[in-house]
Structure formats: structure tokens, C-alpha cells
Amino acid sequence: MNDFAGFTTKQAHGSNRSMPIYLDYQATTPTDPRVVEAMLPFFTEVFGNPHSRNHRFGWDAEEAVEKARAQIAQIIGANEKEIIFTSGATESNNLAIKGVARFHKDQKRHIVTCVTEHKCVLDSCRHLELEGFRITYLPVQKNGLIDLDQLRDSISDETALVSIMAVNNEIGVIQPLAEIGGICRERKVYFHTDAAQAVGKIPLDVQAMHIDLMSISGHKIYGPKGIGALYVRRRPRVRLEALISGGGQERGMRSGTLPTPLCVGLGEACRIAGAEMGAEAERLRALQTRFLDKITAELPEVYVNGDLEHRIPGNLNLSFAYVEGEGLMMGIKDLAVSSGSACTSASLEPSYVLRALGVEEELAHTSLRIGLGRFTTEAEVDHAVERIVGEVRRLRAMSPLWEMAQEGIDLKSIKWAEH
């Protein structure tokens, strides 16, 4: 018996378990094999420095980089001359916000952003506060979207830039970009949007939406990690101060030799996304609906965080009341998801995004983010639902809060000792 038990334990915790089902597409995406294929020649064959003007190696690399630039421009309705390569959306956001603010600091010292922005936007703004800029952090409504009247009221003659993300990374909600762009254009304020989670997922058009700067990420759209882009409008021209000093590449806005294979990868990822976005969105919408319908048919007291209508189809953020998120994740180790619970970070604070929606702390602790993507199958969705339903039931059966709720006790009536 003991041998048996020992054997079973070893099996269960051995290293040769099969990989979990990947449901974390907002964290990152696998590089599409077609992208990898397109990149490969640029490591060993076409390895030249795209900035070398004197020989074939340089010219071929430059041609590849410029083709990629055009592919990126195309998916957002821009001109290729308006695309600046960066190391990723974090750098793009830093460059857009700090770059524009610092360039115009003598005339304008106010920036408008929103509380649910990605940390790299919020942290860039914090830095600018230290440099003497005034920042308005717009709240969001219960559905995760900003209030356009509040945006209008926040803009003054002092405002240099409005930075509002296109799609939120935790709850997948889509901000009203065209309306925001319209307001900014009317008030002659630059509009920057962090579109890391939006490019290739929803149609974007920098002209129609009056977007002046847009951050793009490679690895969120089945491209490689370590590459991104910033769209910088040329007419009317957006001026910004570079963050990196050097050889003046990328029209002086971002010095450094371009990583040709990564640029090619980002270009190819945009080409594929542009060609397949419609069909992919439809397929993911069906999977999202299937997921949610099955979960809510099986489990009571499951809440969707963020607007369901104005949302990318690849995201669900659900609160499973009375079951703590990290505890739940431990029970579904064969699913790679992420949680808004405190315990997944060292901070002990639940997700600031969910808190900003007005989700109560106790519900924020019970949330899971489920990210569906290009390689998610219906069978994976069905398996994930089955596992989540089973584990939520098991954990609710051992949850004192569930027990109290069933007894009709109002949890808010209890004086909890916060620790």
C-alpha cells in the first residue's frame, strides 16, 4: 500500500506532466509559426544592419524592415513613415507620454489619463508629476469605461496630452476611441492610446478615430517578444522628445539599431491579424459565449467584471463569489489563467482595475481572468469549464462565506477583524 501511495504521489508531482491549457492570452501569446517562419532568414542570411547604406547586406535588411513598417501601418490606417519601432508597448507608452510632455513642457503641463491604465502608463505619469506636471486620473464607470463628459471637463488650455488605453488588459473592455479622439481634436489636444491589447483584435483607424499616438506590442498579437511600435502622427505633426540618445534612427525619436528579425516578425503578425481578424473575432466570440453560458448554467453567483458588450471576444473576467481566486487557481493547475486576487502578487492588494470599477474587495479576491486566443479550441473551453465548475463547487462546500450566505446571513452585517 505504501509503495503504491509513494508511486502515485511521484506521478502526480513529477516533472513529466503534460502542459496546462493556455488561457492567458492577455498576458502574452505564442508566436504564430508563420511569423517564426518569416523571421528565420533574418537571423543568419539577411543579417545586415538595416542602417548600413553601403552594401547589399544593409539594403536587404532595410527593405525587410520597411516592408514590416508598412504592414504595421496598414493595420491601423497609418502611413509607414509614422511608425517608430520600439522594444515593446512599455517603451512606446513611455516615449509617447514622457516624450510629448517634455517637448511641450514650456507651454503645457497637464496630462489626462485614467485609473485603469497599464502600470507603465501610470508609472510614466507619476514620473512626470515629479517633474512638475499635473495629471488627471479619470475614474471609470462600473462597466470599466470612462465618462466622456468627465473627459471633456478635465481638458484645459494647459492640457498637452490625453492618454486612454484602447482595450484594458484585465477586463478587455474597449474604450470609445472615436469619441475620445473627436473630443481631443476639437480641443486641440494630442490623443495617445495604448493599443497593446487592441491591435489585431478590433478594427482601428487612426484617421477616423483621430488618434495621434498609438502604442503597439508584438507579443500580444502572436508576434515575437521584445518588439513594439509607436505610431506618431505626421499631419498635423506630433513633436516629442526622445528618451534614448544615439545615432538618431527612427527619425530621431528612437536611436538604436533595428532588430531586423523582430521587426519582420511584428510586420508579419500584423499582416496575419489584418487578414484574419474578422473570422478570428467571430470564432472567439462563439467560444467566449460558450464559456460564459456553460459556467453560468452550472454555477450561481458568478459575476462578469467589466462591460460584456464593449469587450474584445478573447477576454472574460469572472468573480466566483465566496471562492478565493488563488485558492481556485491552485485547484485548476491544468489551466493557465490569471487572478485578480491579492495573493497572486506579493502586494496583498486585490486588482486595482477591479477596485476602480467599484468591485468590492471581497469579490475582487474571487476573480479569474480567462484569455482566449488564436489557438484555443472548443474542446479546451469545455474542459476548462468542467474543471472550474467542479473546483468552485468543492471550494464553496468548504467556504465559511458560502455557508453563511446559504444560511441567509448578510456578510456585511458581520464585524470582520481586518488583518
Binding site: T9, H13, Y322, V323, E324, E326, G327, M330, G331, S341, A342, C343, T344, A346, L348, P350, E360, E361, E362, H365, A397, M398, S399, P400, L401, W402, E403, L411, I414, W416, A417, E418, H419
Partner: protein
């Protein structure tokens, strides 16, 4: 986060999940933590007239370490006198389960849950019994 095998074992096979009747005179109930903090433990002990913990049950809302900590203490308190159970320290729990530093609060909560259950039982018996049933607290000041 990587959990120790002991945490995983208690999480997957929690011991003594359940509830006793709160109104039962021999039952002490401790409810500690707060939903807003992501951890709530309910620990119940069933105490014999001789002051020995005969049985224990728990329910926990929390992460794997919180569930494991409460499951473990239900095992530890069984068969102990109230005074013995009172001496269980969070450091013993954390050490036994190999909890990482960010999870120490789970073991603290489990210790608090034992103490709360004992206090509840003592208050109940003090209310119903005429004569004091327990030695004064000063008997085990460390």
C-alpha cells in the same frame, strides 16, 4: 507560486471539513479573518466535559496555504486539552507546511482561529456553569 507537498496534500485532501452545531454547549467556534482581505477561517472544536478537544472541523475561504493551515490545525488540536491547544504557535504551522514568507499570515490566522474557538467555548461554559471550569489564564503565561 510553488507550494510544498504538504500544502498540496492538505489542499487536495483537506481533513475535517465541515461544521458542528454552533448552539451545542460543547462546541467552540472561532471565525477569523475578513473577506476583504481574502482570508476567512472558521474553526470549531468539540470539547468533552473533561476539557479535551474530541473533534474539530473547519471551513476556509482563502488561498491554498490558508486552507492547508486550517486543515492542519484541526488535526493538531484533536486529543489536546484546551491549554495544550492554546500553545500551538503560528511558527510551528508555517514550519510544518514550509510556508513562504508571503504566506506566513495564513499560519497566523490559523493560530488566531484556535484561540478564538477556545475563547468562544470558555465564554459559553462560563455563562452556563456556576463554578469556574478552567484554571486561570495566569497558569501559562510564557
Amino acid at each position: 507560486m510553488a507550494y510544498s507537498n504538504k500544502v498540496v496534500d492538505h489542499y487536495e485532501n483537506p481533513r475535517n471539513v465541515g461544521a458542528f452545531d454552533k448552539g451545542d454547549a460543547g462546541v467552540g467556534t472561532g471565525l477569523v479573518g475578513a473577506p476583504a482581505c481574502g482570508d476567512v477561517m472558521k474553526l470549531q472544536i468539540k470539547v468533552s466535559p473533561e476539557g479535551i478537544i474530541e473533534d474539530a472541523k473547519f471551513k476556509t475561504f482563502g488561498c491554498g496555504s490558508a486552507i492547508a493551515s486550517s486543515s492542519l490545525v484541526t488535526e493538531w488540536v484533536k486529543g489536546k486539552s484546551l491549554d495544550e491547544a492554546q500553545t500551538i504557535r503560528n511558527t510551528d504551522i508555517a514550519e510544518h507546511l514550509a510556508l513562504p514568507p508571503v504566506k506566513i499570515h495564513c499560519s497566523v490566522l490559523a493560530e488566531d482561529a484556535i484561540k478564538a474557538a477556545i475563547t468562544d467555548y470558555r465564554r459559553k461554559t462560563a455563562d452556563t456553569a456556576v463554578e469556574p471550569t478552567e484554571a486561570p489564564e495566569s497558569g501559562h503565561v510564557a
